[in-house]
């Protein structure tokens, strides 16, 4: 034989999925929601998304090449996913320079400072978003009017999100039944015709994306289901106790970042637990914290904070929540 044969330990076959493919499936699953925001917010959505993705990928390249001095791995798509998710968490009239700061914080602080892909304890896109929300509260909470602001970017007509309306109203003592008149109907909430961050509005599109991810086995059902179920049950109890002072559970699920968070942000690989049991605890925690912030906290929306707080618990969950080993508990029959 002229060539040398290869010797390596088993297995000698390999599955077809790789990191790149998984990341591109996530991007694909985010596209329906992206289309919804383009339909409702038009030019703003395009600008914000483009700037955010280019900035995230660019910062990752620069940091890897010049600071970490390693071979840049931008082609794996993870920076693009972060950029897309960051854009999804921003209002579509946000100035470009704020997006750049957000991208730098997301990639630089949220991801690269921990060693890059797979080593970050917190979801990078959320780190960027929360940093911006705290630093630039005005710009981060001025939400363009859907449909009418299609052709406008910085000068878009703005208004409050449904969650903010409800929160303000309840604290002013206005009954919920009256407040519901001020917000779009359930159908509009379902398709995404409301004020809000770019990617969080299209409930239907996000669910379609979630189904794509589940079908491709990119994510498992545990995290989204546990988050949604917890929020549904928790707000349902509150609503049942006093329907005039609390919004109903369907409203809570359809508004704000719940679906985006549950399907795309909380399921981020590096920052979610490794075992199904851990995923349940993590999801329930996110659900509870979200509702607590929404009902009793200072902010009308709490999904990002909830996910970041639970991210911090993931190492502990991984350490103490172990899968039930095969043959550990013998229940023969």
């Amino acid at each position: 034989m002229s060539k040398l044969i290869t010797v390596s330990p088993s297995p000698h076959m390999h599955g077809k999925d790789n990191v790149k493919k998984l990341m591109y499936w996530v991007i694909l699953a985010l596209l329906p929601a992206f289309l919804v925001s383009v339909i409702f917010f038009g030019i703003g959505a395009l600008i914000v998304t483009a700037v955010s993705i280019v900035a995230c990928v660019g910062f990752e390249y620069l940091i890897q090449k010049y600071l970490m001095k390693v071979k840049p791995t931008i082609s794996d798509g993870s920076a693009a996913v972060t950029g897309l998710l960051l854009a999804f968490n921003l209002p579509t009239n946000i100035p470009v320079w704020i997006i750049l700061i957000g991208a730098l914080v997301a990639i630089g602080v949220g991801k690269m400072s921990f060693g890059g892909l797979g080593n970050n304890p917190f979801n990078p896109a959320l780190v960027g978003r929360v940093f911006l929300l705290i630093s630039f509260p005005v710009q981060m909470t001025s939400w363009p009017e859907p449909v009418v602001s299609r052709t406008q970017y910085a000068d878009a007509v703005t208004g409050p999100t449904p969650l903010a309306i409800i929160k303000e109203g309840i604290s002013d003592g206005i009954p919920v039944s009256e407040l519901m008149g001020q917000i779009p109907g359930y159908f509009d909430l379902f398709i995404g015709r409301m004020h809000g961050s770019m990617g969080e509005i299209g409930a239907l599109a996000l669910i379609i994306g979630g189904i794509i991810l589940l079908a491709r086995k990119v994510i498992t059902w545990h995290i989204p289901v546990s988050i949604l179920a917890t929020i549904f049950v928790f707000t349902g109890i509150l609503w049942g106790a006093n329907p005039e002072a609390n919004a109903d559970p369907i409203f809570h699920i359809l508004t704000g970042g719940v679906l985006l968070g549950a399907i795309f942000m909380a399921t981020d690989y590096a920052t979610s637990p490794m075992t199904p049991k851990g995923m349940w605890i993590y999801g329930i925690g996110i659900g509870i914290i979200t509702v607590v912030i929404r009902i009793w906290g200072a902010y009308p929306e709490g999904v990002s904070f909830a996910i970041l707080i639970m991210n911090a618990f993931v190492p502990i969950l991984n350490k103490y929540i172990k899968p039930k080993r095969f043959g550990e508990e013998v229940q023969n029959g």
Partner: protein
């Protein structure tokens, strides 16, 4: 306005005092009384935490030294004789002086001498390749070249030679901590006596297969012919399982064995170049 200032100062001071009190009580309650000599001994130890003493770190070794009645068996391979003498003085115990040692890689199977017969494509760890099969060459004892020894070295004293694919020990940096010896799954590395000017003569092969088989896989393998054994005037060389071994403590570096080796398996390092005439060679310990 002044109320606010007064209240804040008072409440913060109270908090501070309270915290200090709690800290003090806890510190008292959980106080560990330690032999002060442990700190002194630890200062004398190198502080590399290399594990060469088989303890988890220098501190643990210091504790062991203080506790033990007889410390002559306890040895830090990294510490100098002066350090150990100082420790013995602190503890008022006896300690034996040790011979300085250095790690030696006993394989000379460069690609030129030991052709590759296959290509290894597993995780880059010698221990994994070793448990899988004989290795990229046909030699079951030869260096696998994946650098387990390099990774465990705390002193940056061993590195891979890109060309030969073999590890090289930097004698000045090597502290003989034994880490690489333990790490090598094939026991290729040995701690040998450190001679003047870092001179060494050793059989650079540990293959115990029959001569023909060993030779087939590696041109510089020891074939167990025994010619060096006969040549050695100090009975420093033994032959066991088709493999010659030079005892570093008996060897007087006379250089008689190396020229007779038919496969050049005996390496001489850091000696002046040989003169052409053989007769001039071989004054015992004659490196002057």
């Amino acid at each position: 306005m002044s109320d606010v200032i007064v209240y804040s100062i008072v409440s913060l001071s109270l908090l501070g005092v309270l915290a200090a009190l709690i800290l003090y009580i806890i510190a008292q309650k959980f106080k560990v009384i330690e032999d002060p000599r442990i700190d002194l001994v630890e200062q004398e130890l190198p502080g590399a935490n290399c594990g060469g003493c088989a303890m988890p770190g220098c501190r643990a070794f210091a504790e062991q030294l203080v506790k033990a009645d007889d410390i002559s068996d306890l040895n830090c391979p990294v510490a100098t004789n002066e350090n150990m003498a100082a420790i013995a003085k602190i503890l008022g115990k006896e300690i034996a002086e040790k011979e300085p040692l250095v790690a030696v890689v006993r394989c000379n199977g460069t690609p030129e001498f030991r052709p590759k017969t296959n290509h290894y494509d597993g995780a880059s760890e010698c221990s994994i390749a070793h448990s899988l099969y004989v290795g990229e060459s046909g030699c079951p004892s030869g260096c696998l070249g994946l650098g387990d020894c390099v990774r465990v070295c705390n002193f940056d004293a061993i590195h891979m030679d890109e060309k030969t694919g073999l590890p090289v020990v930097i004698d000045d940096k090597c502290t003989a901590c034994n880490a690489c010896v333990v790490a090598c799954p094939r026991d290729i590395i040995e701690l040998r006596k450190k001679n003047k000017k870092d001179r060494k003569i050793f059989v650079s092969c540990i293959n115990e297969e029959k001569g023909g088989v060993a030779r087939k896989n590696c041109k510089v393998a020891c074939i167990g012919c025994g010619r060096c054994v006969k040549e050695c005037p100090f009975e420093a060389i033994t032959l066991e399982n088709n493999l010659a071994y030079i005892d570093p403590f008996k060897c007087r570096l006379c250089r008689k064995c190396a020229p007779v080796c038919p496969t050049n398996a005996i390496l001489e390092i850091n000696f002046p170049p040989r003169k052409e005439k053989k007769e001039k060679e071989g004054t015992p310990a004659g490196e002057k």
